[in-house]
């Protein structure tokens, strides 16, 4: 259930961000499981869709909290953070949906690797938001997110390049290029979260 909390010091908002972080972490974990065992556990796509709906609900609650109760947090930062967290889940859900939409019969190793990177970055996002609410240091998590984003970039570039080798089925290219890109966008959104959190921490000092 929603945990709208009235607060003048921004703590209610931070609680909602922490909740959103946990939703991101769960989504990343489910997507990794979906791809690792694809096509056997295809029903996990439904669970990811539920996470996406939950993400929308949390984002709505965050905006409501900012509008109704206000916050000491910079409103622009808060909005950007909410949007980036929502994007992670949206792109993850888009990936899961594409697997079914495009009639994918088997996974690609690179997609499994990217899902692993996303799951790792999602865990770090969740941990960073927990630390942010508690007022603890977040630099370890932010460094880890940046590292994983670089790793994701590398895998994604190589994966897309491999699609354009001669003799490849054009349908494979169409399907997997989209899937690799949505996975990369989900990872990039984790990095956006890291950037915003970094900015918020700097302003708190």
């Amino acid at each position: 259930m929603s945990m709208l909390r009235s607060s003048s010091n921004g703590n209610g908002l931070l609680v909602l961000f922490e909740e959103s972080g946990r939703n991101v972490e769960r989504t990343g974990s489910l997507l990794r499981e979906l791809l690792d065992h694809f096509p056997e556990h295809s029903s996990l796509a439904r669970d990811i869709l539920i996470c996406e709906q939950e993400g929308d609900r949390i984002t709505h609650d965050i905006i409501h909290e900012m509008t109704v109760h206000g916050s000491k947090l910079d409103q622009r930062d808060a909005y950007e953070l909410a949007r980036a967290l929502d994007d992670v889940v949206d792109y993850a859900e888009e990936t899961a949906d594409s697997l079914e939409l495009y009639g994918v019969e088997a996974p690609m190793e690179q997609a499994q690797e990217l899902a692993g990177v996303l799951a790792g970055a999602s865990e770090a996002v969740a941990a960073a938001l927990t630390h942010l609410r508690a007022g603890d240091e977040v630099s370890t998590q932010l460094i880890e997110i940046h590292r994983l984003e670089n790793e994701g970039d590398r895998i994604s570039r190589e994966a897309i390049a491999s699609l354009f080798k001669s003799g490849t089925d054009p349908m494979v290219v169409i399907r997997w290029k989209d899937i690799f890109e949505s996975l990369e966008q989900a990872i990039d959104s984790c990095e956006t979260v890291a950037h915003v959190v970094e900015g918020m921490r700097l302003k708190q000092r």
Binding site: F38, P39, E105, A106, P107, M108, E109, Q110, A159, S162, L163, K165, S166, G167, T168, D169, V172, W176
Partner: protein, 290 residues
């Protein structure tokens, strides 16, 4: 150096293809492991030649015979030829200039099931011997009658078909352990009961069974069953082998049919439960990143 036929001017490597070099013909269902589609159906032919008169007459005749054909005016890469899923290739080596031998060698090595017919202008005995030794199936000297070219293509395809695994008994059932593989029904049976393979699962099993005892690489399997080059990291072959195994195991649980060769591919060899090396559970797992 081979001479160009007649007064035709040959340009090397700079001409436009008359059709896309990489688009495959319409899919055909069953393949032999050598790269040639062995099921009955129209012959798929490509001609690398710019002798417009010869090509036009030949194209008209093969078209009338229902063959699928395309004319290329530049030499495609071997992998592009693979994706075209051809039965035969007619090539005028004179068109390719000094790179002709290299091209011929690459094609014969990389597309082993493809029937290659050199159809070119005046040549020496040494050149013809060289071409045939490199791997060309036939050598025709221009000027030649299109009907003779067609007959020679048919003969090459026929020979290829006979020599490909499963080619001779294509429509007969293939017995392996408790399994009966019937290409006429695109299905496998155990004790007369269908194991309910999909078309692609059947093609995979049929391919492996026809290469009984031989290890087929993942890329090779993908190329033949899916008809395209396998993208690095694609797990389709592993997933479909797993599906086929599961379906067979439901009806023939005591036998092992498909063996994994880590990092390489799969081998079909029915093993009864009391065979010495039948029980190697580790070898039957699908590798995660092989």
């Amino acid at each position: 150096m081979l001479q160009a036929h007649g007064t035709q001017q040959y340009t090397r490597f700079h001409m436009q293809e008359s059709q896309s070099a990489v688009a495959p013909f319409a899919p055909a269902p069953v393949t032999g492991v050598t790269g040639v589609r062995v099921q009955p159906g129209p012959i798929r032919l490509a001609v690398i030649d710019t002798d417009s008169g010869f090509v036009r007459v030949l194209a008209k005749r093969v078209g009338e015979m229902g063959w699928q054909h395309r004319v290329l005016t530049t030499p495609p890469r071997p992998e592009d030829l693979l994706s075209m899923r051809l039965h035969a290739l007619i090539v005028d080596l004179a068109l390719l200039g000094p790179h002709g031998w290299e091209f011929l060698e690459q094609v014969c090595e990389s597309v082993p099931g493809l029937g290659v017919i050199v159809c070119t202008g005046t040549s020496s005995v040494a050149q013809r011997v060289r071409g045939l030794r490199i791997g060309a199936d036939d050598w025709i000297t221009k000027p030649c009658h299109p009907q003779e070219v067609i007959a020679r293509v048919e003969a090459v395809v026929r020979r290829r078909k006979r020599s490909s695994p499963g080619g001779a008994g294509e429509d007969g059932p293939l017995m392996a352990g408790e399994l009966e593989i019937r290409s006429d029904q695109f299905q496998a049976f155990v004790g007369g009961q269908s194991i309910d393979l999909t078309r692609r699962e059947f093609e995979l099993l049929h391919l492996l069974a026809n290469a009984r005892g031989r290890v087929l690489e993942r890329e090779q399997i993908y190329q033949h069953v899916w008809g395209y080059a396998m993208v690095h990291g694609d797990r389709s072959v592993d997933v479909f082998v797993r599906k086929v195994r599961q379906k067979i195991e439901r009806f023939s649980p005591d036998w092992i049919y498909i063996h994994t060769h880590f990092g390489i591919g799969y081998r079909f060899e029915p093993e009864a439960p009391d065979d010495d090396d039948a029980a190697e559970p580790a070898a039957e797992e699908i590798p995660s990143g092989a």
